[in-house]
């Protein structure tokens, strides 16, 4: 069973939202409603997230991604639709029950960290536990563990304003992890960091995820980030999810021109893998040809491909060949010129 399921979610701000939902369901345009002073922030969003998955929602500002995220933990009440967590409908809960769910099962990491400036690092990390009513000694131990996990051991007594942006967000992450909630909502959590730190944090999140296997919904406007982190990605535009799939799906088979224009700037070499560009071997494999696994990134493939005259062999863990990657094909894909052709082969 999926951990989280969004089922035909709508969020409409303004007058007579229910009528607006009906018209949207009948295919009305968002701009029509806006002319009447009603803003449809999220339109008919549906997806599922499996346990242990990182699900990325990607979209530009105003696409409704943050609104969508806030409906998942009930900070915003959906105008229509349901949010199922382990099969329980969160939209049917009373405010008190909803708070209970938020304090124990879902935690959140914010874009601008949202650390409480009047609490030190340890107290910030322990905040969720404090809300749960965990006794001081226990919550401080658990908060310290979470901080250590995020690489902040020794900073417990510091104050948020003494830390760099990256470190502050680690505190934010530790605060979210300390409650042992299984679902993590991350709202553009790395967007406010400078590029090097952002990359660092992405790596750290992936490493942590290896160990903790949380279920994560990650919001971003950065497609590279989405591709790096996401097991599955939803691309949003004007409140609707326009494409839902893996990084490769989106890169290789963009659903429409909008997505296609979006992916132009993506560094394919760091997203696409050998499996996506390999072709069936045309003849016997050269014995001295280099061999790689199907998950190898194209960026790592390029050097190998350049070394010898033969195509690189893609083989599975057992050592049997799955296909080969030809140089011309590799170059074409990296150049983004032959996506149709790539599709045909993949």
């Amino acid at each position: 069973m999926s951990r989280l399921q969004a089922d035909h979610l709508y969020k409409v701000f303004g007058r007579r939202p229910d009528e607006a939902v009906r018209r949207l369901a009948d295919g009305a345009d968002r701009d029509e409603l806006r002319a009447e002073g009603t803003t449809a922030a999220v339109v008919d969003a549906g997806f599922t997230v499996d346990p242990g998955q990182i699900f990325v929602v990607m979209g530009l500002s105003g696409s409704g991604k943050s609104t969508l995220l806030r409906m998942l933990n009930g900070l915003l009440e959906p105008t229509a639709g349901r949010v199922l967590y382990d099969g329980n409908d969160l939209t049917a809960l009373s405010p008190r029950e909803l708070r209970e769910v938020r304090s124990t099962k879902i935690s959140m990491v914010f874009q601008h960290f949202a650390l409480f400036p009047h609490r030190n690092v340890l107290e910030n990390a322990a905040y969720g536990l404090e809300v749960q009513g965990v006794p001081r000694a226990e919550r401080e131990t658990r908060a310290a563990e979470a901080l250590e996990l995020c690489g902040l051991a020794g900073w417990e007594k510091s104050w948020p304003d003494e830390l760099s942006g990256g470190m502050q967000q680690r505190v934010g992450l530790a605060r979210a992890l300390a409650t042992d909630a299984d679902l993590l909502l991350m709202d553009e959590s790395f967007s406010a960091l400078d590029p090097l730190i952002r990359r660092d944090m992405q790596d750290q999140l992936l490493v942590l995820q290896q160990r903790l296997k949380k279920t994560i919904v990650f919001i971003t406007h950065d497609l590279n980030e989405a591709m790096r982190l996401g097991d599955r990605i939803a691309v949003m535009r004007d409140g609707r999810i326009v494409q839902l799939g893996t990084a490769e799906d989106i890169l290789v088979r963009p659903a429409d021109d909008y997505v296609a224009s979006f992916i132009q700037d993506v560094d394919r070499s760091r997203v696409l893998t050998a499996a996506a560009v390999m072709t069936a071997p045309t003849g016997p494999v050269a014995p001295d040809a280099p061999a790689v696994g199907p998950d190898t990134l194209l960026a790592d493939l390029c050097a190998l491909a350049a070394e010898g005259p033969h195509p690189v062999v893609v083989q599975d863990s057992g050592g049997s060949a799955l296909g080969v990657v030809r140089k011309e094909k590799l170059l074409a894909v990296l150049g983004g010129l032959a996506s149709q052709e790539v599709t045909a082969h993949a």
Binding site: L75, F110, Q111, H112, A114, F116, P117, V131, W159, R175
Partner: protein, 604 residues
């Protein structure tokens, strides 16, 4: 354009409110008075120097050694100019109004921060409250609550409420939305979001509001002094009434000491109680780091525990001494109380006019010698009559009847009792310096407006003679339109007279006899051949209805009271010589010079 009777409507609704809700106003009045008396009792119990010490330790703890030393010096100064009791009364007044204001303002501010509707409704109301001149609140204040500290406190509360509400609302709204969202995202209840996130973060702004509330309260004390609020405001008002620059300065400086202390302490307290403030202070200290030892010493602050112990020790010492002093005082009161009055309380109101001060303190001394406990209240004329009619005052000795105070007598006569005239006749007049030639009677003023810049320098518009002047005298002598009567105050008129006199400029002022101005300057009373000013007044003693029946002894004394011109001017002269604030001492000196008079005035 038809005249909209807005004032009348307000007037009648105030009457209606008074009739319908007198129980409520009485309850409020009792509550506020109780709170004020309680705080005042605590503040004035300790020896001044000990209490100054307590305040200094608090300053030391909150701001450092230098602040402590300065605070101590400031309060010692207040004590040394003998305004300590007044300062404590003012402090109590400010504390009570601040307390009540905050109890109302902070919840309102929180409510406004959480609801746009409430905020939208409150905003114009607060604007109205804040921009309406504070004096205006005093009028219904006196009618609802009677003279004394209550209308002053109520007016202060109304005046000081808006910044309290605004700053609370602003503080809460200023808290970063993401922080509130973070609190909610972790399942915090709305109440805990308020208590754990919003209020702590809004605290610096709220404390700035508290500071403003206190400062506005302090700025109102002078106005409160006009309606019998007493304290330093009363001293300032007395100083204004007597053109007493010295007392005015002393009282003013005392207010400044209080204001600086309260301002700096609430500022520092704001930093102490708010976690953010403590954080900023710690940072500043760390940045200061390796400064000179001297600076460190002056900035040294004791640990809260040390400060607390210091305050408690001083307070215990103060309490012990206050207790001993109190019991000593009680013994002496009973000793003098064997004399008939049995400590019965009598309260006398007076307008700060020379004959009023003289006769009031004379009666204070006489009644105290007979074992009464006498309280005197200096008031503005309107407030004096309202208070007397309302029964908060027992009697006053300075009613100019039948002419000058006719309007008050007409309004309140069935609530008052005339105990007869003790001095008279008096006269009202316009006067010019004797160097102004060719103007000897009111009729001579006609056509000379240019010479006097078309102005007649008047006194308080509430004074009876101003009404007579404008409605009758000017009309009968055909001076209407030619001269403009300048409303002002008695001290203002006297100051203008002195200024013009020193520069030998022509000036016309409203004056009355007896008045010391005639001995200070060489003046001409303008003749009144048409008798427009009316017959001379007698200076009457007025009591509240029923006072004489309840206190037949005092009633009889007052009915038989009379002074000759010589006696009155002598007494006024002694009071002038002895100096302000020592009126009763002057009365004793005067009584010693007139042996047997006390027995004659208050026979047993």
């Amino acid at each position: 354009m038809p005249r909209l009777p807005l004032g009348q409507w307000v007037d009648s609704s105030v009457d209606w409110l008074q009739a319908q809700f007198s129980w409520l106003f009485d309850a409020v009045s009792t509550g506020v008075t109780g709170l004020y008396d309680g705080i005042d009792a605590v503040l004035s119990a300790p020896q001044p120097l000990l209490f100054a010490g307590i305040l200094a330790v608090v300053a030391w703890w909150l701001r450092g050694l230098a602040a402590g030393v300065l605070a101590f010096a400031g309060f010692v100064l207040v004590d040394s100019v003998q305004l300590w009791d007044e300062a404590m009364a003012t402090l109590s007044l400010v504390l009570v109004s601040t307390l009540v204001t905050l109890v109302i303002a902070v919840p309102l501010g929180i409510w406004a921060a959480r609801s746009k509707t409430v905020s939208a409704v409150l905003r114009p109301v607060l604007d109205f409250m804040q921009t309406m001149p504070a004096m205006v609140y005093l009028i219904p204040g006196i009618i609802f609550f009677g003279v004394g500290v209550v209308p002053g406190i109520i007016a202060t509360i109304v005046f000081a409420l808006p910044p309290g509400v605004r700053m609370t609302e602003l503080g809460i709204r200023q808290v970063d939305g993401e922080l509130v969202e973070a609190a909610e995202a972790f399942g915090t209840t709305p109440r805990n979001t308020l208590l754990r996130v919003q209020l702590p973060l809004a605290l610096p702004t709220i404390m700035a509001g508290v500071n403003q509330v206190i400062m506005l309260g302090l700025s109102m004390v002078v106005i409160a002094g006009m309606v019998g609020g007493g304290g330093l405001g009363g001293a300032v008002y007395r100083a204004i009434g007597n053109v007493d620059i010295g007392l005015g300065f002393e009282a003013g400086v005392s207010i400044v000491v209080l204001a600086m202390y309260l301002d700096r302490m609430t500022g520092a307290l704001g930093r102490q109680v708010s976690p953010l403030g403590r954080r900023a202070a710690a940072k500043a200290r760390a940045a200061l780091g390796a400064k000179r030892v001297g600076a460190k010493l002056w900035a040294h602050r004791p640990q809260p525990v040390t400060a607390l112990v210091g305050v408690v020790v001083l307070a215990l010492a103060a309490g012990g001494m206050g207790f001993l002093g109190g019991s000593g005082g009680a013994t002496s009161t009973t000793a003098s109380g064997t004399n008939g009055g049995h400590g019965k309380k009598v309260s006398i109101g007076y307008i700060p006019w020379d004959e009023g001060i003289a006769s009031t303190y004379l009666w204070k001394e006489l009644l105290e010698r007979r074992g009464y406990e006498v309280e005197t209240k200096q008031l503005e004329a309107g407030a004096l009559y309202t208070g007397l009619a309302g029964g908060q005052l027992d009697f006053q000795t300075d009613a100019w009847l039948p002419v000058t105070h006719a309007q008050y007598w007409k309004k309140y006569q069935n609530k008052l009792e005339d105990l007869g005239s003790w001095y008279g006749p008096t006269s009202l007049e316009l006067s010019v310096p004797s160097y102004v030639k060719g103007v000897d009677s009111l009729a001579d003023l006609k056509g000379k407006a240019g010479q006097f810049k078309g102005r007649i320098v008047g006194i308080e518009p509430s004074a009876g003679m101003m009404g007579i002047l404008k409605d009758k005298v000017l009309k009968e002598y055909g001076l209407e339109g030619e001269y403009k009567v300048v409303d002002g105050s008695t001290p203002g008129m006297l100051a203008e007279l002195k200024r013009a006199y020193d520069r030998k400029e022509p000036v016309v002022v409203t004056l009355w006899s007896p008045h010391w101005a005639y001995s200070a300057h060489d003046l001409k009373k303008l003749k009144d051949p048409k008798g427009s000013w009316g017959e001379g007044d007698g200076v009457h003693t007025l009591a509240r209805k029923g006072f004489a029946a309840e206190n037949p002894e005092v009633g009889a004394w007052l009915k038989n009271f009379s002074l000759t011109e010589k006696q009155l001017t002598d007494l006024e002269a002694v009071i002038q010589e002895t100096g302000k604030g020592k009126e009763q001492q002057a009365v004793r000196t005067w009584l010693d010079r007139n042996p047997g008079l006390a027995e004659k005035l208050t026979p047993q």
